[in-house]
Symmetry: C2
Subunit: 107 residues, 2 copies
């Protein structure tokens, strides 16, 4: 029985942690539907639309809590009616499994 | 006796609300030290640096509350160690006094 991505623990990353190669990324990406792969650096991003500011901020607040719990922190842009989240691992210079774990938890 | 910018009420904006002209902007900008004027569209922005994610999010949380209270909503970008805020008035296609009022309240 495999553990779902969202249930895996984030591991501590240090400078020089290897980034995921394209095959590993291709295997993980289908497990985080809605997230889009972008490059330079490799990262995954997702955008949500909302009818007002309060609902957008409610998602931001939830993501901030998940980020602190995982000790892994996305870049977040938001305002009236939208939230954009970008995940990559600075220490690896690209994507790490932690990014997919946090993406899965965010949903 | 003049009312300080932060204590003025934000007024409701409708599509077609006139944007501030360069002279009006030049008069208000010194009242919001730390905020930078940018163009296309006219907007004011400020960035803060922090030693971690929690302190950055604490500022975001405070700004979200001020934005809801003023019913005027900035675009906010943040992550580990930083917050960037951009204010402009969509309905005016540029800057409105509301932007300077909210900038003054944010600090």
């Amino acid at each position: 029985m495999t553990t779902s991505l969202a249930d895996r623990p984030c591991v501590a990353c240090r400078k020089g942690t290897p980034k995921l190669d394209p095959d590993a990324i291709a295997a993980l990406l289908p497990q985080v539907p809605g997230w889009q792969l972008l490059h330079e650096p490799d990262r995954v991003e997702r955008e949500w639309k909302f009818p007002d500011f309060a609902e957008a901020f409610a998602l931001v607040d939830r993501i901030a809590e998940l980020a602190e719990a995982a000790d892994h922190h996305p870049d977040i842009g938001f305002g009236w009616g939208y939230v954009r989240v970008s995940l990559h691992t600075h220490a690896a210079g690209g994507l790490h499994e932690n990014d997919f774990i946090l993406a899965a938890r965010i949903g």
